[in-house]
């Protein structure tokens, strides 16, 4: 059992929901990322999604686009990010880390070289936004044989036939994109998310996390009632943007934001 499976199993037996924060590695500066990851854990994170910045983040809204630009301004590369994960692992052997980004930075290094270094660094999962199941067979074996989960997205536009096919290939957890749009959008519709989650669960035993459009305690709580995990990204990255000139204040602020979400999730039947 890897760290992701253990985490979701423990949450399930405790009747709790996973809180999954996203931050972009290297934002506002590579020196701060490891400290921010630890702050997220103190704030109640169960899994950390660590964004790999990309010059052309076509599925991201303006908040994460700017985060990518800030990180890339400091030259944050894929190998630097694996070093950050390794540094995080020296003090935290249990919290799963999932890298989230786009294919080209991985493709450029080569999937085998990437997967090997990621395993050594202590990465548990990889979510490649522009890698749908059709093209995934070229990449999955290198990850799987090293025990790294490939996290796949499902979307409101995914018909049941795709849900079935994605469920068949997926491991770790499934990430349901709650709306048609980019990260940080605001048109979350709980009723339609509920219906789609029912459909997904007919085809998969895996935990289902929901992301895109969750910005505060109320939306986290609403999604927590129906999903196994709640992903919060742009709302946290907005704080990084706001405090980019005072990065020393960021760990406490992010920890605080996460604690609020944690309390909202736990208050609801816990």
């Amino acid at each position: 059992m890897n760290r992701l499976d253990k985490t979701f199993a423990a949450l399930k037996s405790a009747g709790r929901k996973a809180l999954i924060p996203y931050i972009t590695a290297g934002d506002p500066h590579p020196d701060h990322t490891v400290a921010l990851m630890h702050a997220l854990v103190r704030g109640g994170a169960d899994v950390i999604e660590l964004g790999v910045p990309f010059s052309d983040p076509m599925a991201d809204g303006p908040v994460i686009q700017l985060a990518c630009e800030r990180a890339l301004a400091h030259g944050t590369g894929l190998w630097d990010i694996l070093d950050m994960v390794a540094a995080f692992r020296r003090d935290d052997a249990t919290t799963p880390v999932v890298l989230m980004g786009y294919l080209n930075p991985i493709e450029t290094r080569g999937i085998e070289a990437f997967a090997e270094r990621a395993r050594e660094a202590g990465v548990d999962g990889v979510l490649i936004v522009d890698l749908a199941i059709e093209e995934a067979p070229d990449y999955l074996p290198a990850l799987r044989k090293r025990g790294i989960d490939c996290i796949f997205l499902l979307a409101p536009t995914s018909p049941e036939s795709r849900v079935r096919a994605v469920a068949h290939l997926a491991s770790g957890y499934l990430y349901y994109v709650s709306l048609k749009g980019v990260t940080g959008a605001a048109n979350l519709d709980i009723a339609s998310v509920t219906a789609k989650l029912d459909e997904i669960r007919r085809h998969s035993e895996l935990p289902v996390a929901v992301g895109f459009g969750i910005r505060d305690a109320a939306s986290a709580q609403a999604v927590g009632r129906i999903a196994d995990g709640v992903v919060v990204g742009s709302a946290l990255v907005s704080e990084v943007e706001r405090l980019q000139q005072q990065p020393e204040a960021l760990p406490e602020v992010l920890q605080g934001r996460l604690q609020t979400l944690r309390q909202a999730l736990d208050a609801d039947g816990g």
Partner: protein, 398 residues
């Protein structure tokens, strides 16, 4: 062996494919299925042919450039006059086709990305004619350097959105158009302007542009009794080139050369020539040659021509390069500019700066070919849009 690409999943050898977020996979499947049905539908094809004839003004002439032929002192030079199409470039061949697809799919809104503005104008034009709402994404830098086309789009009723993220050029416009599409996928059709993007776009844009090459086959036989010896076209994303080349691929005796934007030189960082100086990667939904750094970040590009200023290229070109069927070269800004002036003075035709790249290379090829050889250059667009850029570069205030 007959050339038959892409495969059913949109691959040209190792290139192409569908590298997009899950949200777009089903819309792409639906688009591919709809296109597959319509491409064989006689009513659709009749409507398309009618539009190309009566609205675009096809066939475009194959013109014998006698003075240029004499100046260059070699092969007979023929120009495929895509500059004479309605809206002044080859782009409209594709927007007419995709807009008909949008109509058949019941979409009420089209979006497009544009670099030089030619595809944006062609999209706005067809949207006006079909009564569709049209939003065009254009890099903020391109909005400045192509202001006449911005105004044309607005006159046609389109909304032009300047894109201020990233390098503020064509690639960023494409990112923003993809973001719009993922958000408004129910009522919106994304009219991609070049043979890039996820499958089926590289295939369907190629098919719509292939009218260029099909006409050249018939016109060559009519005017000089056989197929040309060589074809030359500029390559940014590569839609005018693939449109000319594709019908000739199985005619192995016809040489084909694609000309990329060498900017200040392919040995400098300031160019837009991924086939000449890049390597394979994944960008905008397909695997193809791109310009990226060691970390896989897409590099800024430079070309005097906004329409070629793109770090990727259509995946079919990557395959044609690797297979050796097409030769790809690059010419510099200065060479393109010299060719622009030469064509303007020698033939009374002001070419687009994009097309001028093809001329700059053809003039290097022509002398080595004898006068019994026939060389066809794709004059992909007219240069009215570029006169401000050229005047500024040459220190002339208009």
């Amino acid at each position: 062996m007959t050339y038959d690409y892409p495969d059913t999943r949109g691959h040209f050898g190792p290139y192409g494919g569908q590298f997009v977020a899950e949200t777009l996979m089903e819309p792409l499947r639906a688009l591919a299925a709809a296109y597959d049905a319509l491409r064989k539908d006689p009513d659709f094809l009749r409507e398309l042919d009618g539009d190309l004839r009566d609205y675009v003004g096809r066939p475009s002439p194959l013109y014998h450039a006698a003075r240029l032929t004499r100046r260059w002192g070699g092969a007979q030079i023929w120009l495929k006059r895509e500059d004479l199409n309605h809206t002044g470039a080859h782009k409209v061949n594709n927007t007419v086709g995709q807009a008909l697809l949008a109509k058949h799919l019941g979409k009420t809104r089209i979006i497009a990305e544009t670099g030089a503005g030619q595809h944006g104008v062609a999209s706005a034009t067809i949207a006006a004619r079909l009564g569709l709402k049209c939003v065009v994404y254009m890099g903020a830098e391109d909005v400045e350097r192509q202001s006449p086309n911005v105004y044309r789009m607005k006159l046609l009723g389109a909304e032009v959105v300047p894109v201020k993220s990233g390098t503020r050029t064509l690639k960023d416009a494409m990112n923003e158009a993809l973001r719009d599409w993922v958000t408004n996928v129910d009522d919106t059709f994304y009219v991609i302007g070049t043979v890039a993007g996820p499958h089926p776009y590289p295939m369907l844009v190629r098919d719509f542009q292939s009218v260029i090459g099909r006409e050249v086959i018939a016109q060559s036989r009519d005017k000089f009794g056989r197929l040309p010896d060589a074809l030359v076209a500029c390559v940014g994303g590569g839609s005018n080139a693939i449109g000319l080349f594709h019908p000739f691929i199985d005619h192995r005796e016809v040489a084909m050369v694609g000309v990329e934007a060498g900017g200040r030189g392919v040995d400098t960082p300031e160019h837009a020539a991924p086939l000449s100086a890049g390597k394979p990667g994944v960008l905008h939904g397909n695997r193809t040659y791109i310009m990226a750094d060691v970390n896989g970040q897409i590099l800024p590009t430079h070309s005097i021509s906004a329409g070629l200023d793109y770090p990727g290229v259509g995946p079919e070109h990557s395959w044609l390069k690797d297979s050796g069927r097409v030769e790809y070269v690059a010419v510099t800004d200065d060479e393109a500019l010299a060719a622009f002036h030469e064509l303007t003075r020698a033939e009374g035709i002001i070419p687009a700066l994009e097309s001028a790249h093809a001329f700059a290379h053809a003039r290097k090829m022509a002398p080595a070919l004898g006068p019994e050889r026939h060389l066809v250059i794709n004059l992909s667009g007219r240069g009215d849009k570029d006169i401000f850029t050229i005047a500024r570069r040459e220190g002339i205030s208009l």
